[in-house]
């Protein structure tokens, strides 16, 4: 028994170490500064998506945290890394690594996701659609709550890690992202449909949001925390049941003011405080994130593999 426990602990700490080694390498890359610079104009949303793609050839490395309160269990801190790459001006691909710490329990690596977003239209329109396809391979202990779908409720996250980690989710997730920009405001509406690759029914969810920079005109001088660099907004997201029981019954919903600061040094800081809107929701989700854009990443990799200039 103690031998088995020892193995589990070793496995857990190994997973945690892998996550932090990757995070450390990314941090090192960021500090050393890869070539090229392009200050991002990132939106403040953490769950919702707008229609803007990553700039072609740029790699955006992002770290996010979610602190969540948990009734009937221990509070948790879930975290994930995103590697978002602009393959073309109409295709963005993104790889995620997820993990979590449940207080008074353990720290786990909980899986990975691979996301692709495609922009089908050539020009800007009043409403701009983007097609989103994601594959998820995560364990039942995953708590990043990057999207809420189906009958996802707070009680799902109350199990101890030792039990939850034995469940596995292989899911395909589809989203239709609709986004409009008008007079500095951005409005987004995302519809989510998810199919677990086991025999579970289709699940549905939504995310909507609105945001605006605090100042629409740029000042002539470089500044960090001036109003033009700050985008504030709000997002609302939740589940819509599944194919057999579509609707709001036994679903969770959140309302979250969001804010992003786009620093001229290519770093973006994000903060979101989310409140659960019903008894099925976590009472409070505090999320924050930091990201850095590496312009010219595609060129750099191309050169490493002897590609074109």
């Amino acid at each position: 028994m103690s031998y088995r426990l020892g193995l589990v602990c070793e496995e857990k700490s190994k997973a945690g170490r892998i996550f932090w080694v990757i995070a450390g390498l990314v941090g090192l890359m960021a500090i050393l500064g890869m070539p090229g610079r392009a200050a991002a104009q990132e939106n403040p949303y953490i769950v919702a998506y707008d229609h803007y793609m990553e700039e072609p050839g740029s790699l955006d490395v992002e770290y996010f945290s979610t602190f969540g309160t948990q009734r009937g269990g221990n509070d948790f801190h879930a975290f994930w890394m995103e590697f978002e790459y602009g393959a073309t001006a109409w295709w963005t691909t993104e790889f995620y690594l997820d993990g979590q710490t449940t207080f008074h329990d353990s720290t786990l690596f909980t899986g990975f996701r691979w996301e692709n977003r495609f922009r089908p239209l050539k020009h800007e329109h009043f409403i701009n659609p983007v097609v989103y396809i994601e594959y998820e391979n995560t364990s039942g202990a995953d708590k990043i709550l990057k999207e809420i779908e189906g009958h996802d409720v707070e009680a799902d996250n109350g199990d101890p890690n030792s039990e939850a980690r034995h469940d596995h989710d292989h899911e395909l997730e589809f989203k239709l992202l609709l986004s409009s920009t008008h007079k500095g405001w951005n409005f987004v509406e995302n519809t989510i449909a998810t199919k677990n690759l086991s025999n579970d029914p289709w699940e549905f969810g939504y995310a909507i949001g609105a945001s605006r920079p605090l100042r629409l005109k740029a000042t002539p001088t470089r500044c960090n925390f001036c109003r033009e660099n700050v985008i504030a907004g709000v997002e609302l997201y939740g589940g819509l049941g599944d194919r057999h029981s579509f609707g709001l019954k036994d679903t969770s919903h959140y309302l979250a003011p969001v804010m992003a600061v786009n620093l001229p040094s290519d770093w973006t800081l994000r903060l979101s405080a989310g409140w659960g809107l019903n008894d099925q929701s976590h009472k409070f989700l505090l999320r924050w994130g930091v990201s850095r854009e590496f312009a010219g990443f595609g060129d750099l990799v191309g050169k490493m593999f002897g590609g074109r200039n």
Binding site: A89, K122, L216, P264
Partner: protein
């Protein structure tokens, strides 16, 4: 694990994809609808517009178009006759809509006044000596 491998392979393919083509700007300016071409820059007489536009250009555009807008292997110069002879409205239209199939992203995520500041800066550059002759 196989999926992870597939993801990595596709990511490598996508890295090779991210290469904007070069000579498209002039054509795109010409494609701007007449209504857009006719628009004048509301910040034309704003004394700070060019400086602010230069700052924005350095932050968002210089990576591809070069620090002095002289062009790079990724995107063309902004000092060519195609650009300098285009109306402010046409430049604003290209900036807003991007040239998505040729690698230039849409920049409508920058608020309208910032896009006009960029237009003011681009128009202030003038032609290169090569284009003058």
């Amino acid at each position: 694990m196989a999926l992870l491998g597939l993801s990595a392979a596709l990511l490598m393919v996508s890295v090779g994809q991210a290469r904007p083509e070069k000579d498209f700007t002039g054509n795109e300016m010409a494609k701007a609808p007449e209504k857009w071409k006719a628009r004048t820059n509301p910040l034309e007489h704003d004394p700070e517009a060019v400086t602010a536009g230069q700052k924005l250009f350095g932050m968002h555009c210089a990576e591809c178009h070069g620090q002095n807008a002289e062009g790079t292997h990724r995107a063309p110069t902004m000092r060519s006759s195609d650009v300098q002879e285009a109306t402010p409205g046409a430049i604003f239209w290209v900036l807003t809509n991007g040239i998505v199939w040729h690698g230039m992203p849409v920049w409508s995520k920058l608020p309208e006044p910032m896009r006009w500041q960029l237009v003011a800066y681009v128009k202030s550059l003038g032609l290169t000596s090569k284009d003058l002759h």
